[in-house]
């Protein structure tokens, strides 16, 4: 009731001098409008940055097998075999902080097409979700191999642009067959160009195939971290007709069984391992949570006791995430400063006009006191006027700000994103500005002596 009366009085007072009211609020209008526009452009920019960062793998977490050490000699990460494809499946199922998971089996081998050959930086045996993890779903041509291909260890693959250039001279490789260690892979899709990663490695120099195919048909056993490159010397004494055509890349620890022997006693695979598990956190904020979830899950799955050390490592792209968060933080902070400055300017404008208004209305104040207004009534009235002014300005500012950010996105094609926080904040801030900058004039008004105020010319 009291508030309603005060509000009505405030509106009546503001209506009495419309022009001044409008001019006074102009400061706040411009302030809030620029805050909203900036916030929306800034948010659009930081979303765009975030998206770019994601595409270079900022949210990627790599799970590597642990390090083996014996007699004080540490063999480095990945030197033991602890990760299985089932671990990958479990992570996908049970870790809410993880967006996507792909197991990876690595190989290093020569890829042959016709009379050309090439050793790609990456030959990855994986699942279709690899592309989701790497934010690389859109293909240049063709289609991704399917889960079905993974289950059946089908001999299909995707190739990156560098391979297309090196092996096919830029011609379409779709449907062609390449051979890796004598296994023919049909090319079903071509990846889009991604360029070099932050370390300068060419990310397009890649061949992706179902991990089952790479594992069982190409590698045979896990590489266990030790890369076997084409420079490895083949078992020289071995007699193998194919070895004479292609270099044998496999290191055979045991005497090689003849085909008949193999057929007679097939070796059961005891443990299907993968070289690493690539995961993508749902967002950069969730990286720590995702790491904790993966660690907990894998410890449980690997039946590690409380005191035992992890037999795996989870790596995140600390450097990139840091760069990302500091970039967005910088943008936000910059905008905050701009916002504060423009609102402070608007607030000073309000204070200025309110002071003028108090002087101009000295007699009115005297009269109100003479007919029964107390100091606190006068204080409340002028404070309410200031807050109403600021809120009006705030609302106008929101409308204009949203409008101009719309124009910016339509005309300049800058990315913008609507920001509810900006709206809530600018309403809160303009009310605060009203109170803060309205207080001094209101206080001055309330301290007037009614007798002098009535006599004021």
């Amino acid at each position: 009731m009291r508030l309603y009366v005060t509000l009505k009085t405030a509106f009546r007072a503001l209506r009495r001098n419309v022009m001044r009211t409008v001019l006074t609020t102009l400061g706040i209008i411009i302030g809030v409008a620029s805050v909203i526009t900036m916030m929306e452009i800034g948010k659009g920019a930081s979303l765009a940055i975030q998206k770019t960062m994601t595409s270079i793998g900022a949210n990627t977490l790599v799970v590597l097998p642990g390090a083996a050490s014996a007699f004080g000699v540490n063999f480095g990460a990945g030197s033991v075999v602890t990760l299985s494809p089932k671990d990958a499946a479990a992570i996908a199922l049970e870790c809410p902080g993880v967006r996507s998971v792909a197991p990876i089996v690595r190989a290093r081998a020569q890829v042959v097409y016709g009379n050309r050959n090439w050793v790609p930086t990456y030959i990855y045996g994986t699942t279709p979700s690899f592309l989701t993890v790497r934010d690389w779903e859109e293909l240049d041509r063709g289609a991704v191999f399917s889960e079905h291909d993974v289950r059946n260890a089908n001999k299909v693959c995707l190739v990156g642009q560098t391979i297309v250039r090196e092996l096919f001279g830029g011609l379409s490789p779709l449907g062609q067959e390449v051979r890796i260690r004598n296994v023919a892979f049909k090319i079903v899709g071509v990846l889009k160009k991604k360029g070099a990663n932050l370390m300068g490695l060419d990310q397009d120099d890649i061949l992706l195939a179902p991990w089952t195919t790479i594992k069982y048909r190409v590698v045979g056993t896990s590489l266990g971290g030790g890369n076997q490159s084409a420079t490895n010397t083949a078992n020289s004494g071995e007699v193998n007709s194919l070895n004479q055509i292609y270099p044998n890349l496999q290191q055979n620890l045991y005497p090689v069984a003849s085909d008949t022997e193999l057929a007679d006693s097939p070796q059961p695979i005891r443990f299907t391992s993968v070289d690493q598990i690539l995961t993508a956190a749902a967002s950069s904020e969730e990286i720590p949570a995702a790491i904790a979830q993966i660690t907990g899950l894998l410890r449980e799955r690997h039946r590690l006791k409380a005191k035992e050390a992890n037999d795996f490592n989870v790596r995140d792209m600390t450097e990139i995430t840091k760069a990302m968060s500091s970039t967005t933080e910088l943008i936000t902070r910059l905008l905050l400063y701009v916002a504060m400055i423009s609102l402070a300017v608007g607030g000073v404008g309000i204070m200025n006009i309110m002071l003028v208004s108090v002087t101009e209305r000295t007699r009115e104040i005297g009269l109100r006191m003479a007919v029964g207004a107390e100091q606190k009534d006068i204080l409340r009235q002028f404070l309410t006027e200031a807050v109403v002014l600021c809120l009006l300005g705030g609302v106008m500012g929101i409308v204009i700000g949203r409008g101009s950010s719309y124009v910016v996105s339509k005309v300049l094609h800058w990315p913008t994103a609507s920001s509810v926080e900006a709206i809530v904040a600018s309403v809160a801030v303009s009310a605060t500005v009203g109170v803060v900058f309205g207080f001094y004039p209101a206080w001055k008004a309330s301290r007037l002596d009614p007798i002098e105020a009535l006599r004021y010319e």
Binding site: R16, R363, L367, A370, V371, G372, I451
Partner: protein, 237 residues
């Protein structure tokens, strides 16, 4: 019972190091329902006295009882309430809010009632008062659209809207021509006689003073004379 009771009231203004005594021991009683006129030369302290009577100011020394209650003991809030409920002011310069309708001007004191008044009730009471001063067809006029006399009548309506017992008018006719002055004073007389409102009016005009029941003359901060008004005395005789 006496509505106003002043006993040995002093008012001293302090200008830097010098004390300026303006009222030097004023004693005066005004009974409920009386019509008193204050006269005196300019600077004799009439306005100062009126401000004290209106609880806008406090005596430096001496006692002031309004409705039997000592005023100097009241806090600012209580005095504001007293001004709101018990006292109506009419000023020489009408002190109406510009660009505000007569009705809204009259409603101002109702905004500060401690017990809230509903909007339509406020409007009704303000319109009633404006009708009483003969402005029932000027409710929506703004001060700039009214003559001086009409403006002063709006001010009177505003002073009366809370039904005060005491009406204080400091040179209410100072800005009006003689015929409008006469109308206004007739209105005061009517309010005094018909509604029993106690009126204290400051004036330089002996004709005006004659309307009152009693004339109090102030000189140099002291009451020089208290006389029954000749006009009224004649009536009474």
């Amino acid at each position: 019972m006496d509505l106003i009771e002043l006993r040995d009231v002093h008012k001293i203004y302090r200008l830097g190091l010098i004390d300026v005594p303006v009222l030097k021991g004023v004693s005066l009683t005004v009974a409920a329902g009386e019509f008193v006129s204050l006269m005196g030369t300019s600077g004799s302290g009439k306005s100062t006295l009126m401000n004290i009577l209106g609880c806008l100011d406090r005596p430096s020394r001496g006692e002031y009882r309004l409705e039997g209650r000592e005023i100097s003991g009241l806090n600012p809030g209580q005095r504001a309430r007293l001004r709101n409920r018990t006292i109506g002011f009419v000023f020489q310069s009408f002190n109406l809010l510009a660009r505000t309708s007569a009705l809204d001007n009259v409603m101002i004191p109702l905004e500060y009632c401690r017990e809230p008044v509903a909007d339509h009730e406020k409007k009704r009471r303000a319109a009633e008062q404006l009708a009483k001063v003969g402005l029932e067809d000027r409710l929506d006029h703004q001060p700039s659209q009214l003559s001086g006399g009409q403006q002063q009548r709006v001010a009177v309506a505003r002073a009366l809207v809370n039904r005060p017992r005491l009406l204080l008018a400091d040179e209410p006719t100072g800005n009006l021509d003689s015929s409008t002055s006469r109308e206004l004073l007739q209105m005061f007389t009517r309010l005094n006689q018909d509604e029993g409102i106690t009126i204290v009016i400051v004036t330089h005009d002996p004709d005006v003073a004659r309307t009152a029941g009693r004339i109090v003359t102030i000189k140099d901060g002291l009451i020089e004379a208290i006389a029954a008004s000749p006009g009224r005395a004649g009536e009474a005789a």
